[in-house]
């Protein structure tokens, strides 16, 4: 690609000819404020916060949407440009509740940051005081809360839902000042085809889309002396939680995380990674059966609740291919109220289970009517990584200086295979690792299906070649599954994760989220796998004990009752 040379704030920069002014400025460390722009999404050019001045024409250009031109002279710091940015943010604030103190995004809000950075004072906004939008807040959930009053119409949610996830649950409607982002026919969030992936919440710059918080419920349980509170943390949390405390993206904080959970008052601190190993044994056995002709290939994973709901809406014809194995979280919770009391003698009625998840869809999954395996509600509360971090902050815990602690016994041990469940390709890798060894006794070389949206690999197992495919991001998943539907694909095993990059890119993970960050988080998990003493699920001693003492065989009667589930078709819209 040919290069063009331009001047930005009197510095010369040479960039590809298809670069935007914003990208060119970034190359030389010139930081232009943005709001609707997001590096992983299509250009929208709507907020007009990133305007810069073209010195030749004196015109203001939206730097995100304006391509560079040879010889261009751009001033990002002129009074004219700064004033225009301020004015646009002032106009946004004039129609914003500005109730920052009670907002979920207080201190983590891009609009708040802009207000501060651009030097906007209250009186600048009061000048434009007038009508304010008044909309009902949609808390029908169960995963996501939408407050259109806070929406700045940047369209990031609309774009990610359409472009990346292929769901299009949200769209702009109405005109002018009455424009609003809403669901089709303004239906409540609970009644639409939303898969609850929460990608909208990860890109929303303000508090317009957030998870439905369960923090208070969990505090109440922790305060209740009659309750025995168990917590499990999903594999990806250990590689993302640190970001909430200013640590480098991808830093593994497993030991500090465990210590923090103990400080919060949880009676037992366990790991969902353990249940991920269990999933591999159940699902791996299921896949083996299908390979042997019992059941239809391809086998499609079921650990992602966003994908499962998406399949129910969009691929009801493929549900027979989806593993009946519950997600690791639900397997864990079912055992928490059966196996755990069996082993410890704790009254299961008193047990309260909390799951710390990277995911908003898990809040939906726990309430599915057919999901419970014990005689109780298996999962009582789901916290996102963000909610968990807020609880740590509320307790005044200095996270970064915490000591490293280990998970509790019984359901705390995990293998590298369980850990990589938290990133794209991890489930497939873990499953094939076990399947290959069980069939041939030979270890598996790393598949490294990588971070591409859709990837495929072939694994030779004995005299048979198994075709493994992965898709992350529900948009990519749909592309792959359309091929399955049409018969174009001849894959044997398919891993689907609804969020880009898998759970490290989940809707409950720290904000702001970009593909760049998600990749680093995944590398953090891979590093744990690489250095794990045990890397194969079937070698997890606590899993072996679980089968020996409680479950019997994978896919056996007790396993089937506690660890497997069923699905139902849902309307497409």
């Amino acid at each position: 690609m040919s290069k063009v040379k331009l001047t930005i704030d009197e510095q010369t920069v040479e960039v590809d000819e298809d670069s935007s002014i914003l990208e060119a400025a970034k190359e030389i460390g010139v930081d232009i404020p943005i709001l609707c722009y997001h590096p992983d999404l299509s250009l929208h050019g709507a907020c007009r916060v990133c305007v810069v001045e073209d010195e030749e024409s004196g015109k203001l250009l939206a730097s995100c949407a304006s391509p560079v031109r040879d010889g261009m002279k751009i001033n990002t710091r002129s009074m004219k440009a700064r004033k225009a940015r301020r004015r646009n943010v002032e106009l946004l604030l004039a129609n914003h509740p500005n109730d920052c103190l009670g907002c979920d995004r207080n201190n983590h809000c891009e609009l708040q940051d802009l207000t501060y950075e651009l030097g906007i004072k209250s009186e600048d906004v009061e000048k434009f005081a007038g009508e304010q939008s008044e909309y009902e807040i949609d808390e029908t959930g169960p995963a996501l809360r939408r407050d259109p009053n806070k929406c700045v119409l940047c369209g990031r949610c609309v774009r990610i839902c359409e472009e990346v996830q292929g769901v299009s649950a949200l769209q702009f409607t109405e005109r002018g000042f009455n424009s609003i982002v809403t669901t089709a026919f303004d239906l409540p969030q609970a009644e639409i085809n939303c898969v609850n992936c929460g990608q909208c919440a990860t890109v929303c710059p303000v508090g317009a889309i957030t998870e439905i918080s369960e923090i208070d419920k969990v505090w109440a349980a922790l305060e209740d002396e009659d309750k025995h509170v168990l917590v499990q943390t999903a594999p990806s949390i250990q590689a993302t939680l640190g970001e909430e405390f200013g640590m480098e993206t991808g830093t593994v904080v497993r030991g500090k995380m465990v210590a923090a959970l103990r400080k919060l008052g949880f009676d037992q601190v366990f790991s969902t990674d353990f249940a991920a190993d269990l999933t591999i044994l159940e699902e791996g056995s299921e896949f083996l059966k299908k390979l042997n002709g019992e059941g239809e290939l391809p086998h499609i994973t079921s650990c992602c609740p966003g994908w499962v709901k998406g399949a129910e809406h969009n691929f009801p014809d493929l549900l027979k291919h989806v593993s009946s194995a519950k997600s690791p979280m639900q397997m864990f919770s079912a055992l928490s109220k059966t196996y755990y009391p069996d082993q410890t003698g704790v009254d299961p009625e008193k047990i309260y289970t909390v799951a710390v998840m990277p995911c908003t869809a898990k809040k939906f999954e726990k309430d599915r009517e057919e999901i419970n395996g014990s005689d109780f509600k298996d999962t009582d509360a789901v916290l996102t990584t963000r909610e968990f971090a807020r609880m740590i902050k509320e307790m005044g815990i200095d996270f970064t200086s915490l000591p490293e602690e280990d998970f509790d016994e019984l359901m705390g041990e995990s293998t590298g295979a369980g850990t990589i469940f938290g990133t794209t390709g991890g489930v497939a890798e873990a499953a094939v690792r076990t399947v290959k060894e069980k069939l041939t006794g030979e270890p598996l070389e790393r598949l490294n299906l990588g971070f591409r949206g859709i990837n495929e690999a072939e694994v030779r197992i004995g005299d048979r070649v198994i075709k493994v495919g992965i898709a992350n991001g529900f948009g990519n998943a749909q592309k792959l599954l359309e091929k399955v539907r049409s018969g174009e694909s001849d894959l044997d095993f398919i891993e689907i994760m609804a969020c880009p990059h898998g759970c490290v890119g989940g809707g409950g993970q720290p904000r702001p989220a970009t593909n760049e960050k998600k990749e680093k988080r995944g590398q953090g998990l891979a590093a744990i796998d690489d250095t794990s003493k045990i890397r194969k699920s079937h070698e997890n001693p606590q899993i072996i004990k679980l089968y020996d003492e409680f479950l019997g065989e994978p896919l056996g009667g007790e396993s089937h009752h506690l660890l497997h589930t069923k699905y139902k078709a849902r309307p497409k819209n």
């Binding site: 007009r48 305007v51 225009a84 000048k127 002018g176 000042f177 424009s179």
Partner: protein, 600 residues
């Protein structure tokens, strides 16, 4: 019957304007009357498109004499048949009367409204039956397309249009030939051509009239453009609110396909062109080309940033050329007559003619086409016949709802793209609204901004939020609650919205406000500082009415019409108006037989 020879042709305008004033019933009555007099074989009725003189509709022209009758109703038919068609005597009472001179003019070429016009885009409107392709062909139709497809190469066509200096008639004024060149230069396996007929300016109806009155001209213009840029498929994006235009265009496309003028291998040249109609749902912003393309693609009609320009990446990602109806309507003329003849009309920077929809407080409301460079005064006072009821001219607004208002000092301004821009308004698609002394300029600005504000797509911050705040400020000024600093705030916001909005809608929406502040600042100040609306339009600022006790004869007529019972008194004694109750509606004033009531 096509081949029969008639001794007379009676042309009845069946454009939307005349239809709404009764042209269809008129036509039916005439047909009956002709049959009753056994004249059906001698006299032919032709339904034509718009003559432009909608104020005087329904319009009827009788040929070969060329007698122009206006405001003809069914009741007049018997007399026209008896007197004119049988006895050859003109029905004088139906002739047009010049508003200024009261002179009766029998022939329409002699009427001032038409005399000063030069019709290129509207050449056939009102002259031919738009649903008869043969009539279009008989007047030289499709000759330009034939010439282009069989004798010229694409670059020659582009060069001709470039040489003609034709600029986009939809409002932007971008050189058409250059636009075609960009689209031609883009390499692609597929290109599209679009005709923008999403005429959204309130009161504008030039595109509708051309589509209704001469649809084949648009098809021909598009055919030439498609050949020039290498497109084999096109769309006419037309508002669903234009059913007659759609019906006639559909018929025209069908007929052109039947004649081999659309479809494959046109004129045996190997060139293919397929034309579709896409109905728009009436969003003003869909006149913006990127929003229009999104709408065709089935997406929300919302503009996207340019570049990439449609010529590079347009409809469904393919290079696309978009021109307005009137732009295409000029193409056959330029090809047939040559670029030189076109540049001889108009001014140096703005060649050719421009169609205007003349409305407001003017005698001759209607559609006019004048050479560029004609002054505002010529259009308003000579063609438009001046203002009604002897009122004084105050301002003219050009360019549709986003245009600006010019005061009397600018009446000698030549109408061309650049002069209008310099004066703080724009050509737009050709709306021209005349205002008299009874118009409040703050209220006018508020009216137009209210339109653009509610038609904003809501995408970009300055247009969505900024126009709302400007409107709120204007509302409070007209409500008598204007504050010190409001004018400056309007100017500041207006300039801000213009310079940072995403598309043309926002970039021009503040124009009515900015131009009225520029030329009529005193009116704003009177509202804010003196609590007075000089034109007496803003109700909250208007003073109560008072009765002159000396003159009042105590007839009580005023009290009977007062909607709020503010007037009281005893018969034959002077009445009084309670100023606290009076809402200054003015209903009482005309009722008084002795002119004893006036506004305080």
């Amino acid at each position: 019957m096509k081949d029969s020879i008639y001794r007379s042709h009676v042309l009845i305008c069946t454009g939307t304007g005349c239809v709404s004033s009764g042209a269809k019933t008129l036509k039916d009555s005439l047909a009956e009357e002709l049959a009753a007099n056994d004249l059906s074989g001698e006299i032919k009725i032709v339904e034509t498109g718009c003559h432009g003189f909608c104020e005087k509709g329904p319009i009827m022209i009788v040929y070969p004499e060329g007698v122009f009758y206006c405001e003809v109703q069914s009741d007049d038919v018997a007399e026209i048949v008896e007197e004119h068609l049988l006895k050859g005597r003109t029905v004088e009472r139906l002739l047009f009367k010049e508003p200024m001179t009261e002179e009766q003019i029998p022939s329409y070429q002699d009427i001032d409204f038409y005399k000063k016009q030069q019709r290129i885009a509207l050449a056939n409107c009102g002259k031919i039956d738009p649903e008869d392709i043969d009539e279009y062909i008989a007047l030289g139709g499709y000759e330009a397309a034939g010439k282009v497809l069989t004798e010229m190469d694409a670059q020659e066509v582009v060069n001709t249009i470039k040489d003609s200096g034709l600029r986009g008639r939809g409002g932007g004024g971008f050189p058409t030939g250059l636009k075609w060149q960009f689209a031609k230069n883009s390499e692609s396996d597929k290109k599209y051509l679009i005709c923008n007929a999403d005429e959204g300016d309130p009161g504008a109806f030039m595109d509708r009239s051309i589509l209704e009155g001469d649809p084949h001209r648009i098809i021909e213009g598009m055919l030439v453009a498609a050949y020039a840029i290498g497109a084999d498929e096109g769309y006419v994006y037309v508002r669903a609110e234009y059913p007659l235009a759609i019906k006639r265009l559909e018929k025209a496309i069908e007929d052109a396909e039947e004649y081999g003028l659309l479809g494959d291998d046109i004129f045996s040249s190997g060139f293919n062109f397929k034309l579709h109609i896409k109905k728009g749902a009436g969003a003003f912003v869909c006149g913006e080309e990127t929003a229009l393309m999104n709408s065709i693609e089935g997406k929300r009609g919302m503009p996207t940033p340019r570049p990439p320009y449609p010529a590079v990446r347009g409809l469904w990602g393919k290079p696309t050329n978009i021109n307005n109806v009137e732009t295409y309507a000029n193409i056959p003329y330029i090809i047939n007559e040559g670029a030189d003849k076109f540049t001889a009309i108009g001014t140096e920077g703005s060649s050719g003619t421009k169609v205007f929809a003349l409305t407001g407080k003017i005698n001759n409301t209607g559609l006019v086409e004048v050479p560029m460079g004609t002054t505002l005064k010529e259009v308003i006072f000579e063609i438009g016949g001046g203002l009604g009821q002897g009122k004084k001219f105050k301002a003219v607004q050009t360019g549709g709802p986003s245009g600006g208002c010019l005061p009397e000092d600018y009446l000698d301004l030549p109408i061309d793209y650049d002069s209008l821009l310099d004066a703080g308004t724009m050509m737009g698609s050709g709306g021209m609204v005349v205002m008299d002394e009874d118009s409040c300029m703050v209220d006018v600005a508020r009216f137009f901004l209210n339109f653009t504000q509610s038609e904003s797509c809501g995408k970009c911050t300055p247009c969505r939020e900024g126009t709302k705040r400007m409107l709120e400020i204007l509302n409070r000024i007209t409500d008598g609650e204007g504050k010190e600093g409001d004018i400056d705030l309007l100017l500041e916001l207006g300039e801000h919205i213009k310079s940072t909005s995403l598309c043309g809608l926002g970039q021009s929406a503040p124009n009515p406000v900015l131009s009225t502040v520029r030329y009529f600042r005193d009116e704003y100040e009177a509202h804010i500082h003196d609590g007075n609306c000089p034109a007496g339009v803003c109700e909250d600022l208007a003073g109560a009415y008072v009765i002159d006790e000396e003159a009042c004869i105590g007839c009580s007529k005023c009290a009977k019409v007062c909607p709020v019972d503010a007037i009281s008194g005893e018969i034959k004694n002077p009445f009084t108006i309670d100023p606290d109750v009076c809402i200054a509606c003015g209903a009482c004033e005309p009722e008084c037989p002795v002119d004893a009531i006036s506004q305080g």
